[in-house]
């Protein structure tokens, strides 16, 4: 390997992918087709500004404010926009509410469509073949893999994101959370619960689940 035999006075050669993308970016900068600072801004936006915390705020607001919840279920794009979350891959939003008898699950069997303004960029499992292939034919089996066993009398609705409409699941508010503030509730809501592969639990979850 070249990287292992490099001259110690010089730097190690990075991975093939790093080299290919560097070559592409430098070519496009040389031709004036991209601005590297715009790339930095895009990466910063999706690494630090837009992520599942946005969706969690939408969910917590719906839990504490029945009028907001009604607007959210009637015109999700506008209601989510009220909190300042708009734009690419969230132009046409639908919010689907879980309940004691209905559980919603979101997938994109054809590619990787996902509601970016409220959840950020999708995790690898969401974009990968095992989830995309089985969510529609074996939703119970898929949920079991995520550790979620639903009673047989719960209807599962699978939403396949085949158009420009993007879906956000409104999870059930956990029992025992009545005294929590909106901010405390926000901290409980996970990305997985808003995709529909988990329920919201009273314990504080890990950082980005």
């Amino acid at each position: 390997m070249r990287a292992a035999q490099h001259d110690h006075s010089n730097q190690a050669v990075p991975s093939d992918h790093t080299l290919r993308v560097k070559a592409l970016e430098s070519l496009l900068v040389e031709k004036g087709l991209v601005d590297p600072a715009a790339l930095d801004a895009l990466i910063d936006t999706y690494e630090h500004k837009i992520g599942p915390r946005n969706g969690a705020r939408v969910v917590a607001r719906a839990w504490v404010d029945p009028a907001y919840k009604e607007r959210l279920l009637t015109d999700a794009t506008a209601a989510i926009g009220e909190l300042g979350y708009t734009g690419g891959q969230g132009e046409h939003m639908i919010v689907v509410a879980n309940g004691p008898r209905v559980h919603n699950l979101v997938v994109c069997t054809l590619c990787s469509c996902y509601p970016w303004p409220v959840l950020g960029l999708p995790p690898v499992w969401y974009k990968s073949a095992p989830y995309r292939s089985r969510a529609v034919i074996d939703p119970r089996g898929v949920l079991r893999e995520f550790g979620l066993e639903l009673p047989q009398d719960v209807e599962i609705r699978v939403w396949d994101s085949t158009s420009e409409v993007r879906y956000l699941v409104l999870p059930e508010r956990p029992a025992g959370s009545e005294k929590l503030s909106e901010e405390e509730l926000t901290a409980l809501v996970t990305r997985d619960a808003m995709v529909g592969v988990a329920k919201v639990k009273l314990q504080r979850p890990g950082a980005n689940r």
């Binding site: 790093t18 496009l28 734009g87 292939s133 034919i137």
Partner: protein, 343 residues
């Protein structure tokens, strides 16, 4: 196209690989290709639909072995070469052809926040009549185009119900190929799991919702002449009434409805009914239409039991309960089942 990207319903893709505390990007190059992909869209030389199709065109074995961002890297180069922004030689060498013109970037850093916040709506404010209404039964057309389509294979040829009308949207199937936006109504269509996956569909009635447009058509009525002719010896053909008694009409409608809902095919129904009629003839019963609906009912009980919709014990219990209800209800009062029989 019937590509490997159209994965809904496939088996054999392995277990879901879950990563706790997954970072947004695993490597710096992934972040760069993500941003390049977004920034180059700003030119605008291709649509989101065209970029999805560029990913679909990756040969299946490579598609399956590539990571998400490897697929984007491949697709971006193809889109740029096809649109003439770079040449194949430039993409391979990473060097601009000497003397080639330089441009001004279509997206600069200060414009990023506005671009991200605005997005690119796919809805269009054009007057297009809706072809379907909410609650209407529709058929996902059995189409197999070689180009881009957003109608997944697992839904093709299946009956569903219009769940929601999202208004007029761009039609991806033409837009991906620069054949125009062809704006039309976008519908969510609800499909019963049994309609999509047959007998082994999971019991608790999961349903699938997809969106479709030109890819939908009005289904043929279950009572069209072709289907009726598939039934053996149907009464009512020689001017006599189709149903002599109300229960006959009810049994008829039950079979049609259960078939429509995908519990059995019309072909299965016609075969079961033919078997009942044949058995009756071999028992020496008269070969006329006087007992046609007796056999219809027997066939319905038989098929519903085979398909696991009912079992013979609970059916017999229900029959006895109805008899009791008639016996205990005065004249002129509607007959109802005892509450403990109705779960």
């Amino acid at each position: 196209m019937n590509g490997v990207h159209d994965m809904g319903g496939m088996h054999g893709m392995g277990p879901i690989q879950y990563e706790s505390n997954e970072p947004v990007f695993h490597e710096a190059w992934e972040a760069r290709i993500f941003a390049l992909y977004r920034a180059m869209r700003a030119w605008p030389k291709w649509t989101a639909d065209a970029s999805r199709h560029a990913v679909e065109l990756i040969p299946a074995p490579e598609y399956l072995s590539m990571s998400y961002y490897e697929q984007r890297l491949h697709a971006l180069i193809e889109l740029m070469v096809k649109s003439g922004l770079v040449t194949r030689a430039e993409a391979e060498s990473g060097k601009a052809v000497p003397g080639s013109p330089t441009a001004t970037p279509a997206l600069i850093a200060s414009a990023v926040p506005a671009m991200v916040a605005k997005g690119k709506p796919a809805s269009r404010e054009v007057p297009v009549a809706a072809r379907f209404t909410v609650g209407q039964r529709v058929l996902a057309r059995n189409l197999h185009p070689t180009g881009h389509t957003r109608l997944p294979r697992y839904a093709r040829g299946k009956l569903g119900t219009i769940h929601r009308d999202h208004g007029v949207h761009v039609f991806p199937d033409t837009n991906a190929h620069s054949l125009g936006e062809k704006p039309q109504h976008l519908y969510s269509v609800r499909f019963a799991a049994r309609e999509l996956w047959g007998e082994q569909a999971q019991s608790a009635m999961p349903c699938i919702l997809i969106c479709g447009m030109t890819t939908l058509s009005a289904p043929k009525s279950m009572l069209d002449p072709e289907r009726l002719q598939a039934l053996p010896q149907l009464p009512g053909e020689k001017g006599e009434p189709m149903f002599a008694e109300p229960w006959q009409a009810q049994a008829f409608a039950l079979a049609v409805k259960l078939s429509e809902q995908g519990h059995f095919t019309w072909k299965e129904w016609a075969a079961t009914l033919a078997n009942e009629l044949k058995a009756a003839t071999s028992r020496g019963e008269p070969d006329d239409s006087s007992h046609y609906y007796d056999h219809w009912l027997a066939a319905l009980e038989h098929l519903a039991t085979i398909k696991g919709l009912v079992d013979s014990t609970s059916l017999a219990a229900r029959k006895a309960a109805w008899a009791d209800a008639y016996r205990s209800t005065p004249h002129g009062v509607p007959v109802k089942l005892a509450p403990d029989m109705v779960s």
